[in-house]
């Protein structure tokens, strides 16, 4: 029988990453969608970088930055007691950076595609920005939020390069499913690798299918 720990760790990582990403991405996407600042193109570029950079590049620089041999890593270690190299926390931060565009882009597109007159009308009706965001904007971009959540979750499950660079392969701490598969293949244990892989295939298929069904309005016909 396979060791379940890597799978549990993977979903734990993906879940926490997604929750934190959602909290970060809503304000970020809101700013990107409505700002007229000249910094916008630069910020958009930075957010999108993980889409095109090889994951190993991100992993490499994070490894350098977080290393206790470095001033920043040293500072983190001394002042916040955070050791981000080869630890779950480090993995979490790397995942957030790596999956950021997958959460920000759908939400930003949701805001941009929403008629600006809804926001204007809410202001004319005397509602604050916060009320407008939570009562008008977010409820009307539910499908974008769902897309962002699922893509970020699925993308975190699928990451390999970043994790390998910064997390290594420590059972129970940083050995996620994708690493476990690689590990099993390296030790010629194909049966176990196959089991992990099948589980990941089945799960990601179901998650994505659920999103397309919900966003495509397929499930609505069963309501009422």
């Amino acid at each position: 029988m396979i060791d379940w720990e890597p799978l549990i760790l993977t979903f734990k990582l993906a879940f926490i990453t997604t929750v934190l990403l959602l909290a970060i991405s809503i304000p970020l996407a809101y700013w990107l969608a409505y700002t007229k600042s000249k910094l916008k193109p630069i910020c958009e570029t930075i957010v999108s970088m993980p889409l095109v950079l090889p994951p190993t590049v991100i992993g490499f620089y994070l490894l350098i930055a977080f290393s206790p041999a470095n001033s920043f890593g040293n500072w983190l270690n001394n002042w916040l007691g955070l050791k981000l190299v080869f630890s779950f926390e480090g993995l979490l931060i790397a995942s957030i950076i790596y999956s950021l565009p997958f959460m920000v882009h759908p939400i930003q597109a949701g805001f941009t595609n929403l008629s600006s007159s809804l926001k204007d009308m809410s202001y004319v009706l005397g509602k604050s920005r916060t009320t407008t965001l939570f009562k008008i904007l977010l409820p009307n971009i539910k499908s974008s939020l769902l897309t962002g959540i699922v893509l970020a979750f699925a993308h975190t499950i699928g990451e390999f390069g970043v994790v390998l660079m910064i997390g290594g392969n420590i059972p129970g701490k940083t050995k996620v499913a994708s690493i476990a598969i690689y590990d099993e293949v390296e030790s010629l244990n194909y049966a176990a690798a196959n089991t992990y892989s099948l589980i990941l295939v089945a799960l990601t298929f179901s998650i994505l299918l659920a999103v397309y069904l919900i966003n495509g309005g397929y499930l609505k016909q069963f309501k009422k």
Binding site: S115, S117, L118, D120, M121, S122, Y123, V124, L125, G126, K127, S128, K135, I136, P139, N140
Partner: protein, 291 residues
Amino acid sequence: MIEISIQKKLTAALGEMLLDINTTINKGSLVTLYGKSGVGKTTILRILAGLLYPDSGKIIVNGDTWLNTTTKINLKPQKRKVGFVFQDYALFPNMNVKENLLFALNKGQNSSIVNHLIEIIELGELQHRKPDTLSGGQKQRVALARALVQKPSILMLDEPLSALDAEIRFKLQQYILAVHKEYNLTTLLISHDISEILRMSDKVLELEHGKIVRQGTPNEVFNHKELNAKFQFTGTIIEIEKQDFLFILTVRIGKDLVKVVADESEGAQLIIGDKILVSSKAFNPIIHKIG
């Protein structure tokens, strides 16, 4: 009274245009902004609502300064008491009709006004429907009701009726006039429809290229234009009869033969076969309903 004096450079379809508006609007009046597309009508309403910022100018409403660019006063849209009906209605799709109205309530405001508005704008049957299930006229009524929930001092309607057919249009004009009176509103309306303007408004501001070119009562503004109370037909003379001082001309206008009277000086110059223009002031037309 509303005093408006605003300037803003706009990029219009035909290059840059300076919006330069100076006018006053009396409390309780219904004023129409009239003019071609792109002359800045919507921009004026958006500046009044605080959604756009002019390059310079001031807006004073009943003694309160809403905007003064020299003293850097600029009330946020949230602080200006305006009701606004957008051209696209901007109903919140995530809320049903009643929730749309309830959302508009101020903190602590008694919600009885919502029920009152639902009653006078006859939304009772629609109140639990979502906006995307409503027709254009129904959406329009909901947007109008929502704009009134906060009892604004100014009601602004951006081409509220342009997308509706004649019958619903007429009904909505009645609603607008009714709430205008009931809530003692100062109403600003954008419209292209001269008969609508004649029926509804006290004052017309006609705009061209960002400037007011004419203002006054609808009659004053439109009297010399399309609506100059005149019937005009062109036809061909087929017979000329002289009777005492007058000539009686038989004119073929379309398929009809019409007898018209011409005086001596006019008649003497005409011969059979001439094409003429017959026009008449419509002081005393006889009107028969035929449909």
